[in-house]
Amino acid sequence: MAEAGVRKKISVTVNGVKYEREVNVRTLLSDFLRRELGLTGTHVGCEQGVCGACTILIDGQAIRSCLTLAVQADGRSVTTIEGIGSPEQLHPIQQAFWENHGLQCGFCTPGFVISAYAFLSENPNPTDEEIREALSGNLCRCTGYQGIIKSVKAVAEKMQATAVSNTK
């Protein structure tokens, strides 16, 4: 653990907004987002890098914000769940989770949506098995994963269909 008390100035772009802040060097990125910026949609379920609830995107890559220090995000671009969609304009992944009962208590949901987002941008046409594997780094205690897998499948199919109709 970095030495307590040492502070460092960082500049991070989060959901398109640039923030300059001075942080304690040992501040976790998850704490920075939640407490410093008030972006509480990123959840912390274990602080051990296992549950995936804290998943965010840094420069497009899905990472665990509980295993990352705020200073490591200096100069980089972060996307959190708040940057994916809004209640008025849900992202197709969020819409699919809503339609397919991909969530219950909602605590794991931001992590799953972000993981699915990163996964589908790499593999837009996955098999069930690939979906399961891709999401196996995220824990959900409520749903038994049925609705989640269904949601990701549904959105992949929809994106495929749109892609096909767009090329026509």
Binding site: H43, H101, C105, G106, C142, Y145, Q146
Partner: protein
């Protein structure tokens, strides 16, 4: 039954989802008042030790630390933890912060309040404690010996001891053609909600009001427990529960929550405690951890003549004050007979305290304990008799025409049809074809097995003396503009009540669910009542909401009758309007908005409301069950549960005999929970429950070593099932409405967790039949499977 698109029976999308999907939910840790201090807790590294001395000097000197409080210092501000539940068990004197002695690894010893959590955690490392270690009680044998006493004043380690004999049990066994006896065990595990416990306490020394915001399933119950433990007037305490990130029974007490309350009371400032995952595994509620010896006598036609069950539970430190777990063992004793007809019955229960973590509720609450040994036993007996597990169940199921059925152990089952449920499950899984193919697969070296378990899910417990007594009011209120609010203590913990309860009111009032909002999670706002536990929502809360809505509808019709000059009897509510039945003319109709406006605002009540009508457009109904029986008969029998969902679950598994790996290929469920409010949500509950069952049978194990250390207190080594372990789940419903609730609904939510361990264990045994494997201890780790395969090969055949 009213079947509107938005009402009862429709798979309506959930009202609560948009905020969760966009990160706009608000869980307790998301809330922070300026000036809040953060807590960190020093926890015992010893399973059992006397505390000789605590030196907090260095910790107090650290920059940013505001206070350090020990168990002894806290005594000036609170008493022992209040009792959550007590059914003839021993209640210990035990405190939120250890006093004089620690009794499990992870027990709070001292608490730091500091400007942030990082500093508070640093300070915890600076507290010096001198312990005098005591002999450690880990196993049931340790407890009974006794190797040491957890509570010296008891003189033993027994928290619960109970026995009943009903019918001529000796005669039953004397007459039996076949007698089987097996001891069946289950590992200790828990719910691990993704949101661990979090609690913010804010005591105002001027008003002497305490506001507690916490992640709990039961705000009213928590308020009572805090008042009793802190010895504060309950009317000065307000408990707020915002969005809750899962509960599954584990958030039904106030033990750790007492710590922030006492710290805020001492400091007069808001304080926040956010439990980390290690703390949650060590000290959040544990469940299961039992051994059960069953003895069954069958007649020549394989019908059960007598059942004897001896259950021994390893409770851990306590299951009455720290958490409500201990009586789960009695629930098991009431429900061992399960779906079967049992002419003679004997049950013996022993619950011992040990130096493991607290015992609470977790999806099942003893119904799982009743289920696993019996459903395993049915398969074991079938194997030994050389008959099909289908046949032995078929011959012993309660018949569909026998409901309401008074079980020998006391419970009254409301409705059901196990035979049909089993037929459906077998047909959907294509059982006979599978059994045929199984032989061919074996020739190819593939070991695929199919296992079933019947499920009985007593739902809606009403337990005398305490905060689980079934008290459930609901208020339904109409606003001036004709919208509705439902106010209830029934917390949303992910089970979808923000949608399903409005569906109930929508079906009564014939309005859109978007015009109805559930208001909950604040004891200053809702009527006092209980939270979601014991799958009680669709038994108690739904019934209370339904009756309150009907009362309000009655009032609305009376007022509308007065305004329309019509007899209220001739009126109906249609699509947000009250109108003369069947008439669509404008004059014969008034919108709810117009009516609300008239009563509340323009002109107001005079002249608008008929004489003798209390014009408050708000009705409260407290629903109580007519079948609950608290006075024990000569055998000590009572009836605590009102409704009983049923089901038959079938698991198909494949075992890799080289690696010992078990893969679940699919789950087929046939299920009956009476009238279903929202099928999509009901299916989600079943699937979630199955995932907990799969976790318990394959992966999850709160493992303690001989010194009472938990060896896997983190998510790297305590394995929760992921999307790779939970198979596809196919669910089929039948609906046998409950005669004991106004809408025929039955509570549900635990049903998935109850039978799935037995279904999987039975399937694994079926897969490994050529090796003569008998499934013993859980979870079914690859090491254990390989050991059994090897042993089975040596023994060459069935045990």
């Amino acid at each position: 039954m009213i079947m509107t698109k938005k009402g009862l029976g429709a798979s309506v999308k959930r009202k609560e989802d948009p905020r969760f999907l966009t990160g706009l939910g608000q869980y307790t840790d998301d809330i922070e008042k300026p000036g809040t201090l953060h807590l960190a807790i020093l926890r015992s590294p010893h399973a059992h030790a006397r505390i000789l001395n605590i030196d907090t000097t260095k910790a107090k000197q650290l920059d940013g630390v505001v206070a350090v409080v020990t168990g002894e210092e806290a005594l000036d501000y609170y008493g022992p933890l209040a009792t959550t539940i007590n059914i003839s068990n021993n209640v210990p004197e035990i405190y939120a912060i250890a006093y004089k002695k620690v009794r499990y690894v992870g027990e709070p010893v001292a608490v730091v309040a500091a400007v942030d959590r990082y500093v508070a955690e640093d300070a915890v490392d600076l507290i010096e404690v001198e312990y005098d270690p005591l002999p450690v009680v880990v196993s049931v044998e340790d407890a009974l010996e006794p190797k040491a006493l957890l509570y010296e004043e008891w003189g033993h380690n027994i928290q619960l001891e109970w026995k009943t004999t009903i019918g001529d049990i000796d005669d039953a066994f004397a007459k039996a053609t076949y007698v089987f006896e097996e001891t069946i065990t289950h590992n200790r595990y828990t719910g691990t909600p993704m949101e661990s416990r979090v609690c913010i306490a804010d005591y105002n020394p001027a008003t002497k009001h305490l506001t507690v915001t916490c992640s709990t399933q039961s705000p009213s119950q928590v308020r009572t427990l805090i008042a009793q433990t802190l010895r504060m007037p309950e009317h000065n305490i307000r408990v707020i529960a915002p969005d809750v990130g899962g509960g599954y029974g584990t958030k039904l007490q106030a033990n750790a929550e007492i710590i922030p309350c006492v710290m805020s009371r001492i400091l007069g400032r808001p304080v926040k405690w956010t439990e980390d995952r290690v703390e949650n595994l060590l000290s959040g509620m544990h469940s299961r951890d039992y051994s059960c010896t069953l003895k069954v006598g069958l007649d020549k036609d394989y019908r059960i003549l007598g059942l004897k069950a001896k259950l021994i539970g390893n409770i851990g430190v306590d299951g009455t004050c720290q958490g409500p777990g201990t009586p789960a063992l009695l629930v098991a004793a009431a429900y061992f007979p399960g779906p079967y007809k049992i002419p003679a019955y004997e049950a013996e229960v022993l619950g011992v305290v040990t130096n493991k973590g607290p015992y609470g509720a977790h999806r099942g609450y003893g119904k799982d304990i009743a289920n696993y040994p019996v459903e395993r036993m049915m398969d074991i007996m079938a194997q030994k008799l050389g008959i099909s597990p289908v046949e032995i169940r078929r011959r012993n199921f309660i018949g569909k025409d026998e409901y309401p059925y008074e079980q020998i152990s006391g419970p009254i089952y409301d409705s059901g049809d196990f035979q049909r449920l089993m037929d459906i499950a077998l047909e959907k899984v294509d059982y006979h074809d599978l059994k045929k193919k199984q032989q061919e697969w074996r020739k190819q070296g593939r070991y695929i097995g199919v296992g079933m378990a019947a499920m009985l899910e007593p739902s809606g417990a009403a337990v005398f003396n305490g905060v689980f007594n079934g008290y459930q009011p609901a208020t339904v209120r109409m606003t001036p503009e004709g919208g509705f609010q439902i106010l209830t203590s029934h917390q949303n913990i992910g089970q979808g009540v923000e949608t399903t309860l409005p569906q109930i009111v929508a079906s009564v009032m014939d309005v859109d669910i978007d015009d109805i909002r559930l208001v909950y999670g604040d004891t200053d706002v809702t009527p006092y009542g209980l939270g979601p536990f014991s799958s009680r929502g669709a038994t108690y809360t739904v019934s209370a909401v339904y009756e309150a809505a009907k009362k309000l509808k009655d009032k609305i019709l009376k007022i509308a009758g007065h305004l329309l000059g019509a007899d209220p009897q001739d009126l109906e509510m249609v699509n947000g309007h009250v109108r003369v039945k069947g008439v669509s003319s404008h004059e014969a109709s008034i919108s709810l908005k117009e009516l609300g406006n008239k009563v509340y605002l323009w002109p107001g009540p005079y002249g608008t409301v008929p004489k003798g009508v209390d014009c408050n457009l708000e009705c409260t109904y407290t629903w109580t069950s007519e079948v609950v029986k608290w006075v024990p008969d000569e055998h000590g029998r009572v009836n605590l549960y009102t409704t009983h969902p049923t089901g038959v679950f079938v698991a198909v598994v494949e075992v890799d005999v080289e690696t010992g790996q078990v893969k679940i290929n699919k789950f087929i469920v046939s299920h009956d929970s009476g009238t279903i409010i929202n099928p999509m949500i009901a299916d989600g509950q079943i699937a979630g429950g199955i995932a907990h069952g799969i976790g318990g049978v394959l992966l999850e194990d709160l493992a303690y070593d001989r010194n009472g250390f938990m060896v896997n207190a983190d998510f790297q080594s305590y394995l929760c099932p992921t999307a790779m372990e939970v198979s596809d789940i196919e669910i089929h419903h039948i609906e046998c409405p409950s005669p004991f609730t106004p809408l025929g609904t039955k509570g549900m939510g635990e049903g998935g967790a109850i039978p799935s361990p037995a279904a999987v264990a039975n399937a694994v045994e079926d897969a490994l039949e050529p090796f003569g494997v008998r499934v013993k201890d859980l979870p079914l780790t690859p090491e254990r499977i390989l050991e059994w395969i090897n042993k089975g090969e040596v023994n060459h055949g069935r045990s």
